[in-house]
């Protein structure tokens, strides 16, 4: 969403005419209202309902108290440590899933026999909830960082792997044949046709995986962790520090939005040729 706004403002800068600029600004405001109006209303409603006592303020504290808990947590550095450790866990797992899932998917998608042999087991693994396997990973790797990173890695690997395989398999064979008529060998065909054609599909997998990574991160941090944003949600609730709990929840939502935004921007840069933005 953000990129649309920045597009508008770039266009607005081009017109030297102040009136045009004003009209553009008006339009941007209207667009902002259209996009975020309901969200703002939601927070305003929460604030009013909580201070007026329509909602139990012990469960839903006013937004300003959540915000100040967030601010205190961030400025004191307490939450920053949690963010850092959470990002590290999710980041390592996601990077490993990307580093293994994409090359493996590209390879598997190209070779029919490999893909056919591995597909049933992949489907089985994918359908088995990573959370259900978490106890197994804990038994194998202990309750420390390794099992946490591994469960996230496991859950993020499959969306990336399957999306990559799907992307490679769906490359139009007519385009490959066209490349061959110009004398392209296997490697060139892969580099110039198969790989770029798979990029949109790979991004679908990446974005799905990023969401999954955060989901699993929170779950993993709720069991046997003493740091991390997910741990803070549980810990604050346990100690009845409800504003801090909501602060941590919003932080997680924000991390999810930020991850998705990074991927969207990257996708738009790599897929400028495509009309599909999302």
């Amino acid at each position: 969403m953000t990129y649309q706004i920045s597009n508008e403002s770039v266009r607005a800068q081009r017109g030297p005419d102040i009136r045009v600029a004003l009209i553009r600004t008006g339009r941007t405001t209207r667009r902002l209202t259209a996009d975020y109006g309901l969200l703002i209303a939601f927070f305003a409603g929460w604030q009013i309902a909580s201070t007026a006592g329509w909602l139990n303020p012990a469960v839903f504290p006013p937004i300003d108290r959540v915000a100040s808990a967030l601010w205190t947590g961030l400025s004191s550095g307490a939450l920053v440590d949690d963010i850092a450790i959470s990002l590290q866990r999710a980041g390592i797992a996601f990077a490993a899933a990307v580093g293994i899932g994409i090359p493996l998917g590209l390879f598997m998608g190209q070779i029919r026999a490999v893909e056919r042999a591995l597909d049933p087991i992949l489907q089985l693994f994918r359908q088995t909830s990573a959370l259900a396997l978490y106890p197994v990973f804990i038994l194998l790797l202990g309750l420390g960082e390794a099992s946490k990173v591994f469960v996230i890695f496991w859950a993020t690997l499959f969306p990336i792997l399957l999306a990559t395989i799907g992307g490679v398999k769906e490359v139009d064979p007519k385009l490959i044949e066209m490349a061959r008529t110009f004398g392209a060998n296997r490697l060139t065909t892969f580099r110039r046709v198969v790989l770029p054609a798979s990029v949109p599909s790979i991004f679908v997998g990446l974005r799905l995986s990023a969401t999954t990574a955060l989901l699993l991160l929170i779950a993993a941090e709720m069991i046997g962790a003493n740091k991390g944003v997910g741990f803070q949600v549980m810990n604050a609730q346990y100690n009845f520090r409800i504003p801090l709990m909501f602060a941590a929840i919003f932080l997680l939502a924000f991390l999810g939005l930020a991850a998705n935004w990074v991927l969207v921007v990257l996708q738009r840069r790599l897929c400028r040729w495509s009309t599909a933005h999302h």
């Binding site: 007519k174 385009l175 044949e177 066209m178 490349a179 061959r180 008529t181 110009f182 004398g183 392209a184 060139t188 110039r192 046709v193 770029p196 054609a197 990029v199 897929c271 400028r272 040729w273 495509s274 009309t275």
Partner: protein, 256 residues
């Protein structure tokens, strides 16, 4: 380069070419002992009923398909598989959607190891030749069907083949665009001095573009027919002689 060599370039010799397919356990002989000599620089159209093997013949010439028996010689040398002296233009433009017009046209050259800047330079020349000079930065999705097909033609030309193989390249276009493109193909063929082998459903297109029209037999194993089109170029579709050729070709298919 001497004149004699120049004339010999792009000469295609087809000897006893036979090809069959197995469909559902049944063997279907599509091409049976075809013999044909295509002169260098000639424009040959291949017509025939649907399923008569036009595409199969063209794909064998391209090297995308191997014959069961017999073979193809190009400039006297037997060919197996694909080769740089041949370019194929398919019915669909087959553009790479992630490359601009320029990128697509330069693609063939780049694949063949030409440095990027030289490939781009030559590509620009052919983009102008097909009349798309303004569109070199456009994405394929922004092009009309006719424009996309022109890009495909330019891409095939940049590698400067001796032989241009076209399988119903204008089949998907509307009647008006088709006629314009036929005129362009006529001009390009004359300018580039390539051997043109054009598979088409359109008898008028065959007469408009070809020196000779090859009619594939309807009954398998029947004889092929060759019809010389002896008309000055550019050809006039309303010329009585043109119309006579059309009638003659139609009668080959039992049409009136």
């Amino acid at each position: 380069m001497t004149l004699i060599q120049a004339q010999a370039k792009g000469e295609v010799t087809i000897r006893d070419l036979t090809k069959s397919f197995t469909i559902d356990g049944q063997t279907l002989t599509v091409l049976k002992k075809i013999n044909l000599d295509i002169r260098g620089g000639e424009s040959l159209a291949i017509v025939g009923a649907s399923g008569s093997g036009k595409t199969t013949l063209l794909r064998i010439l391209a090297g995308l398909e191997e014959p069961d028996a017999g073979g193809v010689l190009i400039d006297g040398a037997p060919v197996h598989g694909l080769g740089r002296e041949r370019s194929v233009i398919f019915q669909e433009p087959r553009l790479l959607p992630w490359l601009t017009v320029l990128g697509n046209v330069a693609f063939g050259l780049e694949v063949q190891g030409e440095p990027k800047s030289e490939a781009a330079e030559r590509a620009r020349h052919y983009i102008r030749l097909v009349g798309l000079g303004e569109f070199e930065g456009a994405w394929p999705r922004q092009l009309s069907g006719g424009m996309a097909q022109r890009v495909g033609i330019a891409r095939a030309l940049t590698v400067q083949p001796e032989i241009l193989l076209l399988d119903e390249p204008l089949g998907a276009l509307d009647a008006m665009t088709k006629m314009t493109m036929q005129e362009e193909l006529n001009r390009i063929w004359a300018e580039e001095k390539v051997t043109l082998v054009l598979v088409t459903h359109d008898l008028e297109e065959a007469i408009f573009l070809a020196d000779r029209v090859l009619v594939l037999p309807k009954a398998k194993g029947g004889a092929i027919r060759l019809i010389d089109i002896d008309l000055p170029r550019p050809r006039d579709r309303n010329d009585p002689a043109f119309v006579r050729y059309r009638r003659q070709l139609m009668s080959e298919f039992g049409l009136h």
